[in-house]
Amino acid sequence: MRFPFAPLVFGTVLGLLGIAVAYALPSYPRFIFGEFAVLVIITLGVNLLLGVAGLLSLASPAFVGIGANLSTAIMLRAHVPILVSIPIAVATGWCVGWLLGFLSLRLAGFYLAMVTFGFLDVFLVILNEGGDLTGGGYGLIVPPSSLPLLGPVTLDVTIAISAFTAGIAIVLVREVQRSRIGRAWIAIKDAPVAAEMQGIDVAHLKTLAFAVSSALATLAGTYQALLLGVTNPSAYSLNVSVAHLTYAVVGGMSASIVGPILGPLLLFVVPEVFRAIGQYREVFYGAILLLVLVIAPNGIAGTLEALTQRTRSRP
């Protein structure tokens, strides 16, 4: 159904559905659901950058970290309300992402990945040496905050906000990926020279992809801090980069948004929910990864897509 602003309508519906699910769950699963929503937002960004635009970045945890630390720090030090601190953090994430995007203009593949990893390293140094601003090596405690109409931002309120945001993000990101800009990103990934000959400003679109992807991770980071109540400086290592990429790869990298939902679902929620598997989490994780890469290299969503498409193309 295509009518103006349909994505906002459907996004809101999905978001409200998410809140309903969160409400219906008992307390610990509800918390997991909140984390899941945060991971979905991050993976949407990773998928957009890598699966759609074809740009490999290891810097996603850095932006989660910027979101968590910047919003918390300015709430704490500048006593800024949460309605202001989050947009500031996201705007910063967007701009820093844009700058990181400039690096992608000259590099690709492995070399781009290494440079983004370098960026992550720099971020970690700033974080650990930030003294008062970033809580040094210990992190910051997220101060209590409140929202107009909703009152104090409790854990439950945070989970609801995360779920709602994830719902909207899923629909909006899907819409962008199917739109003029999304097609241009895919064109750049598939055949950059031919893409440029259609009038596409490759440089602009690459930096744009970085900016959007980074903003999503930054937003997720602000929610992450609220969910945990603290910021954790050791939560932004290369392992986390790999985890993010794995969610995207296993879920299936393409313009479909089923992938960014399936990835965290399978690799985060399942081990949490099924304790038996959770005990052997690493084995499960590795097994799923191997299985997917061998049997279904396009990820789960990619394989499903291929199956449905084969019937379509029959003349």
């Binding site: 349909a6 962008v176 003029r180 097609r183 895919i186 598939d190 893409a195 490759v202």
Partner: protein, 492 residues
């Protein structure tokens, strides 16, 4: 390195202009220069009389559309989405309006999508517009690429071998489309093609290129009979070298290699049909044909990549059907491919040594063979310790042949060995082949340029459109008439 030097071309509005020339003449480079994807120093490009600084991103704005030798399709997009990328410059919606489907973005998308679907139909695409491009057959890729080019309403089309890989009816349809564009919409078309008869049948004017320069420009009739053009396609004449190398034709020779009704191709395309030929013991056989006729495919099929799809190949009495390349080579056939692949980061010596991998030669056996190669190819003697990547074209060709000979094949296949080589080197090549022949090695050489090969070969086949169309003494086939006919066609 200069692919073009002092190249000049003028396009009249509303004409279909063909650009022809042998391999390596610089045709694609000429198109790249107009598109801004080839480095250019010197010369000017003018559009409507105004100087133009070409850049790929400005093509659509300048009203120029381009297709590539292999359709540059965005495989992760559907057919209609591919065409919509061509309309990128006509759209305005960015991330914000695109993500929320603002009314302006939606209207724009609907309008452009309708146009894209209509264009796909008009180029003859009859599949599902939303089918993913990667699942579609090759012929449809070209259609999608053309539709994508046309959606921005270009006034000038630059087409690089647009009919390559298309079946007869697909070619006819493309021709009809180009004619219609020219006549009804006044579009100007520059067409690079190897299929010269096709070019002559379609184009109003033709420019012939050779070695980076334009050598003639005019109507098809003028070009076809132009002395320089005929010479550039048929190659230069050899002088004294000819008589020295009078071939010794094999008398009642055994057929060491025989192909019977072989069919072969790549993917969905069948390139060779009903090919039957043979090479006798001690013979040098020439396989003549223009670009795209199927010479390389034939040689590659003999060594098993691609595998033959029909008919059979007999080598020393045994069938090679279904055998992989490693088995074919192990059975004594050697192929020197067109790209003269050598290991560029290794020295000549190391290349020769690596060529014997798997043979388990003793040190002395290896040195014996290696010294034999260095005697046969004196040029390599002085370059033994140089990196293969630093060798000149001719030296690299020598090395490529030497590597294959290190394995002592009992049949040697050469794919266009003389391309891009200076006449003096081709002379040497001629001598080397004669010497190998005299030592009893049967050889088949695929070539466009027949004049250097004729004196040292005993028989020739002419291949055209994937079929053998003529067979006989090289001197007869080399006669300007017959080959001109094949290469340049008749002009009605």
């Amino acid at each position: 390195m200069h692919a073009l030097s002092r190249f000049s071309l003028a396009l009249e509005p509303g004409e279909i202009h063909g650009l022809i020339g042998p391999n390596g003449a610089g045709k694609t480079t000429a198109i790249n220069a107009i598109c801004g994807t080839a480095g250019r120093d010197g010369g000017t490009i003018e559009l409507d009389g105004n100087a133009m600084d070409p850049h790929p991103r400005r093509l659509v704005a300048c009203g120029i559309g381009r297709t590539f030798q292999t359709p540059a399709i965005f495989f992760d997009l559907s057919a209609v989405a591919n065409v919509l990328v061509g309309a990128y410059a006509q759209g305005r919606s960015g991330v914000l309006r695109g993500s929320v489907a603002a009314p302006s973005a939606l209207a724009e998308e609907e309008k452009l999508t309708a146009r894209a679907v209509e264009l796909l139909r008009s180029v003859g695409y009859d599949g599902d517009p939303h089918a993913p491009a990667k699942l579609l057959p090759f012929g449809m890729h070209r259609q999608i690429e053309v539709a994508r080019m046309l959606v921005s309403d270009p006034r000038i089309l630059l087409l690089d071998e647009p009919t390559a890989g298309l079946a007869g009816h697909e070619v006819a349809r493309l021709v009809a489309l180009l004619r219609e564009l020219r006549t009804k919409r006044g579009v100007t078309i520059l067409l690079v093609e190897h299929n010269v008869p096709f070019v002559f049948g379609l184009c109003d004017r033709v420019t012939a290129m050779h070695d980076g320069k334009d050598i003639a420009s005019g109507t098809p009739a003028e070009i076809r009979s132009h002395e320089d053009v005929v010479k550039s396609y048929l190659g230069y004449q050899h002088g004294a070298a000819e008589s020295e190398r009078a071939p010794q034709a094999p008398r009642g020779g055994v057929k060491v290699l025989e192909l019977r009704d072989v069919a072969s191709g790549y993917g969905a395309t069948t390139v060779l049909r009903d090919v039957s030929l043979y090479v006798g013991a001690g013979e040098v056989v020439a396989l003549l044909g223009r670009n795209g006729a199927g010479k390389s495919t034939l040689l590659n099929t003999i060594v098993g990549d691609p595998k033959a799809r029909g008919g059979d190949i007999f080598w020393e009495g045994r069938s090679l059907r279904g055998l992989g390349t490693d088995r074919v080579v192990a059975s004594g056939i050697g192929l020197v491919p067109q790209d003269r692949a050598v290991i560029v980061r290794q020295s000549v010596d190391d290349n020769l040594e690596l060529a014997t991998f798997g043979l388990h030669l003793g040190r002395r056996q290896f040195e014996e063979r290696r010294d034999e190669m260095l005697t046969r190819f004196p040029r390599l003697q002085t370059r033994r310790t140089s990196f293969a990547g630093s060798l000149s074209g001719g030296e690299r060709q020598m090395l490529a042949i030497a590597k294959v000979l290190m394995r002592r094949p009992r049949l040697l296949l050469l794919d266009e060995p003389s391309i891009g080589l200076a006449p003096a080197i081709v002379n040497e090549l001629q001598g080397i082949i004669a010497a190998l022949r005299d030592d009893g090695l049967p050889i088949m050489v695929a070539e466009q340029n027949v004049s250097w090969l004729a004196p040292v070969s005993s028989r020739a086949y002419l291949i055209e459109g994937g079929r053998i169309v003529d067979e006989g003494p090289p001197s007869r086939l080399a006669e300007a008439e017959a080959l001109t006919e094949a290469y340049l066609g008749t002009v009605s």
